[in-house]
Symmetry: C2
Subunit: 260 residues, 2 copies
């Protein structure tokens, strides 16, 4: 397929590299920032452009990989070509494209990308939605060219997915940060926690998280929890987070085990 990439951020970068490696042709890379456009275009053998007038309709698919709130503004610049347009956002409804064009879909990679860190794209979950079944089928086919994990996800589900990712990833990363703060406050290095964090993430590759929950809350070890809250007495925000999460662990555990 001939593919045009709108954007030059992390998603645009990783996605276009994966598509090119799978044998597709990246025709143009558009970015308001010519330097970024040129850098990405060079890597994927495409033409770099930074003006809307240079966008050509000589393509099969526009992938709009730009900030969420810029998508609805940008699409009118593409709709006159009457080619398939997809966005790559977890939070934006398909409807935002359908307001301008019926030939539309979503191609959402559920992963956290950094430009400096390689990702094995074959393991990235790709969440597909199409304005109709033939579009969905086509996007699914394209997705399978670059990933082993392709899912049909509607706009309502995609919002839930995004919310779940906030809990399981953004909040998780913040808890790593809390761990680091606590250690540095007592003259210890975050290196001490790194192997434990790696193992905690590794465990759920094969298990459901609730089945491998450990710690004072799931044991209902009240003495330890009280001691921990006491240690946090000068950090009321962390005390509150500790209490809320512990209560939720206890509640979940009791629900699973049929207690009240």
């Amino acid at each position: 397929m001939r593919i045009t990439i709108i954007g030059s951020g992390n998603v645009a970068t990783h996605l276009s590299a994966a598509l090119k490696n799978a044998g597709h042709r990246i025709v143009q890379v558009y970015s308001r920032n010519m330097h970024n456009a040129a850098l990405l275009a060079y890597h994927v053998g495409a033409e770099a452009i930074d003006s809307l007038q240079e966008i050509t309709g000589d393509t099969d698919l526009f992938i709009v990989a730009i900030k969420d709130d810029a998508i609805a503004e940008f699409v009118p610049h593409l709709s006159s070509f009457n080619k398939l347009i997809v966005h790559t956002s977890g939070a934006v409804e398909l409807q935002q494209l359908l307001d301008f064009i019926s030939n539309a879909g979503v191609f959402y990679p559920l992963q956290t990308f950094s430009k400096t860190k390689e990702v094995n794209f074959r393991e990235v979950p790709l969440c597909i939605e199409g304005a109709d079944e033939s579009i969905a089928k086509m996007l699914e086919h394209l997705a399978r060219d670059i990933s082993n994990n392709v899912y049909r996800v509607n706009s309502a589900q995609r919002k839930v997915l995004h919310l779940a990712a906030v809990f399981a990833c953004n909040f998780t990363n913040h808890l790593y940060s809390v761990g680091e703060q606590l250690l540095s406050g007592s003259g210890m290095s975050f290196d001490m926690l790194r192997p434990l964090i790696a193992e905690t993430a590794d465990k759920i590759k094969e298990h459901r998280p609730a089945d491998v929950q450990t710690g004072p809350a799931v044991r209902n070890d009240d003495l330890t929890m009280q001691a921990h809250l006491q240690m946090l007495k000068k950090q009321p925000d962390l005390q509150e987070i500790y209490t809320r999460l512990s209560q939720d662990i206890i509640k979940n555990h009791n629900t699973r085990h049929g207690d009240k």
Copy 2:
């Protein structure tokens, strides 16, 4: 060294295997449960015992790897041998051993062990404390036989380490579980989140967590946060956790960047 293992749980199992592999001799494995004692003793070539009378003083070190609240009760059974005694707990102070014997220390592996999952012990952080410098040195030496990550940690620091581990690991695992619940409530599989969780943990191997924080809170994306809270309106506990963690992320970010 000749080493006696008290206990047959996860820590006893992984620790004694690592010590034996490093060339030390496990003399006896004591457990109240003869089946467990025999299983572990078989693996490490030791004698299995389940009665206190059979414990011999013909050893250099007792490693007491049993539940926290059983340690103080057990130590009097060993103190008459006048050999070095260590416990392996993150939460128990060295003082609990010193009440019975001066020849005491702590040998705390900071890792989450499962009997069915292999762990590369060379990467497990071992936290050492000794009643005096010569004991600490000796334990440090022993620790280096089995791990590349050996730390001197006093009882106050060890408590902080344990608390930090609750945040970075126990609470993190619960957030994975929340993610799973949200997905299953919308007919989606936890498999969709697994690669993102793996990548989130992988990122902090090379970075400080605060440097790679992503998501709506750190971007101060109020519209998305409001939409997420709206989606959670029937789950007030999760709403509260969402709010508290987001506020803490915003506060941390502002502190780092010098805002009020």
